[in-house]
Amino acid sequence: MKTKEFIVTAIIIVVLLLCKFVLPKPIQFSPTISWIVTILLGLVFAFIFYLTIKGKPVERRIVFLLVGISLVVPFFMQFKLPLKISPEVQQVYDKLASLPPGSKVLASFDYDPPSAPELQPMAEAFVKYAFEHDIKIIMMGLWPQGPQQANQAVEAAFEENPALRDQVKYGVDYVNLGFQSGNEFVVLRMGESFKSMFPSDLNYTPYDSIPLLKNVSNFSNIDWSINFSAGKPGTVEWIQVAVDRYNLPMSAGNTAVQAPMVYPYLNAGQLLGLMGGMSGAAEFEKLTNLPGKATTFLLSQTFAHVVVILFIIIGNVAFLRSRKETK
């Protein structure tokens, strides 16, 4: 290890140890401090802009560092941001709220932990809302880790509202069918028979022994479905098979990367509402009146977006300058 790298590593370790063992916790900035920090960040960008114009663009690691800082610092700030509800998220909520108690909802958790920061807040808000309104949930996953994410959402609902732990019964109010490989073929077979794809639930309880599934044979016994998706198989496959072939009414929560690909299906009426990325999750949390992680992260997102915009401007200035020099 070179001296420079050794110093950097040592500094990082010391800072982390200080944070872990010395600093008082939790940390919260007063509004004045928050403003001062924001202004300081602004000044750093002004300086970088100045350096770029002078022909000394900063290296990529500085960009990474500043993006990191812009994500972390808002954790400790007290700013409140206004949040406008988009029509597609409103549509998801309206559909969920219109379900009578006792309705059966099929929820497919088609994502894994890497995508959880975006999708887990939606899933948690949905599960909490459903439990509080006596909406029955049949959970499953086309991704292996999906059912575990579903269990985490259930656990989060119980932690948030401990009374639900006694009220909501596994097998009666919700069930987790687990993962099944086969992508859209699983959905296709479910159109004929759920049991053929899930002979038992996640805990190996036979399908026929689960009270909630007593009268559920295929999509026609489902009142509404929601799909939390981070890629393939996901919302698109559900639309192609379950919606277009079996007329399953479906809404979806997608990662922001995937959302643009799903909009055409929303516009064509194949999808009843869409929550896109963390902002979609925050809107859904607001509508369900169950604020969670997405609402908390909104400020960090906003800061990071501003930083990215500034870097796009700075990057273009650097590009134009280098082109001019080349000429």
């Binding site: 709220a97 219109s98 009578p100 108690p101 995508s115 309104h133 026609s220 990367v257 690909m261």
Partner: protein, 402 residues
């Protein structure tokens, strides 16, 4: 909306507590609290759901005149010919349709609709008996059949034409010439070529296209005696890729140059795979990186790392969400269908060429539908030109699913 749900909860509780069944009440309803009941639903019609396998009966009715102000919802009752009515579903106000998919074929059923008011349920008259029957063909999908017939017919026609030796014209695909140049550069620099076939399995058409292009790339690699490195995330892709490269080396007359370690399985886990490929990139510094196939969140990470090591990068994917990163970070990008076109162009395989030409026929149909449809819509609906209404109806018939 919440109020409506609460009201419906009340209605359900009420329904259960008084255990209303159609047998207990006279037509027109009961009056448990001596208060007025909502007006009943009318014209209840039950009929076989057409074009299914005999599992559904559709029930339609006219709304209660008190809907929505003075009702809490509807209850659907069902009975066999001489049996008692049982409630089978509760619906929200405003509903006038119910598909009963829990019936057995060839058994006649009759239906009755109950309107839930705050003071009780008023019942409609009984429907005629209806029987669910199955049909072999779904004639409601005639237009889908028509277009599929035209589309598949074109594909088959072009394949036959290509097989008979007719030269099918395909325009030049930008970026393809760069492939050979990129392999040549890697040879000159004595560094390997990294080929990433996406992260989906052999059941994805993009992976298939990538493997076809791999065949051509491997052939050039074998000719130039260069090196190819291919970490994969699916076991089936491993199998297919090894066979393809082996064939290319054999056809180049250098079977001894082939080594199974050229293709290496890493893991199915998306980011585990990305971490490993990133590691390979920064350590082995390939001169050329080819990303062809289906990509997800890893696209930008890979392209960015490839960019940072100064490799020539050529990408191609049909995942619209990932194209922006490849366009931004790579030297050449095959956008969407260009990936498949490139595969057909390089392989000169009659099946692929025929399919591509057949798809062009599909695009012509879509363009025709779009042009004529939007024009007819604008003229007849927005500008109220009645003479164009029949064109609009025709287009809707041709392009609307039933």
């Amino acid at each position: 909306m919440l109020n409506r749900v609460l009201l419906l909860c009340l209605a359900l509780v009420w329904t259960v507590s008084v255990s209303v069944t159609a047998q207990d009440v006279a037509e027109g309803g009961i009056d448990t609290l001596s208060l007025p009941l909502p007006a009943p639903a009318q014209n209840v019609v039950a009929a076989n759901h057409v074009y299914d396998d005999g599992e559904v009966i559709d029930v339609n009715w006219d709304k209660s005149p008190d809907d929505p102000e003075n009702i809490l919802g509807y209850i659907v009752y069902r009975a066999e010919t001489d049996g008692a009515f049982d409630s089978i579903r509760t619906l929200l106000p405003g509903e006038t349709f119910f598909s009963d998919d829990n019936v057995e074929d060839e058994i006649p059923y009759k239906y009755q609709i109950g309107v839930i008011g705050e003071n009780g349920v008023s019942l409609s008259g009984e429907s005629e008996l209806a029987v669910a029957t199955w049909e072999l063909f779904n004639f409601g999908m005639w237009n889908t059949f028509l277009w599929m017939f035209v589309f598949c017919g074109s594909v088959i026609g072009f394949i036959i034409s290509a097989k008979s030796g007719r030269k099918l014209y395909i325009r030049k695909i930008g970026g393809l010439e760069a492939l050979e140049e990129a392999v040549g550069r890697a040879t000159e620099m004595g560094r390997p070529i990294l080929f990433i076939p996406g992260i989906l399995d052999m059941d994805d058409v993009q992976t298939l296209a990538a493997i076809t292009i791999l065949g051509k790339v491997a052939r050039v690699v074998a000719d130039y005696d260069s090196k190819i490195r291919m970490p994969v995330s699916r076991s089936l892709v491993l199998t297919a890729a090894r066979e393809t490269i082996k064939e290319s080396y054999t056809s180049a007359g250098r079977p001894d140059g082939y080594n199974e370690d050229m293709v290496q399985y890493v893991t199915d886990e998306q980011f585990g795979y990305v971490a490993a490929v990133n590691g390979i990139m920064v350590r082995e510094k390939p001169a050329t990186c080819l990303y062809l196939g289906a990509f997800f969140a890893e696209s930008l990470i890979l392209a960015e790392t490839g960019n940072s090591i100064g490799a020539i990068q050529i990408a191609g994917t049909a995942r619209p969400g990932q194209l922006p990163f490849f366009v931004a970070a790579c030297d050449y990008t095959l956008i969407g269908e260009e990936l498949f076109a490139a595969s057909a162009y390089l392989s000169e395989d009659p099946k692929q060429l025929g399919s591509l030409k057949g798809q062009d026929v599909g695009k012509v149909i879509a363009m025709f539908g779009l042009l004529v449809g939007t024009a007819a819509m604008t003229l007849s609906v927005a500008w109220q030109v009645p003479a164009t209404q029949w064109i609009l109806d025709l287009m809707n018939n041709l392009f609307t699913t039933n």
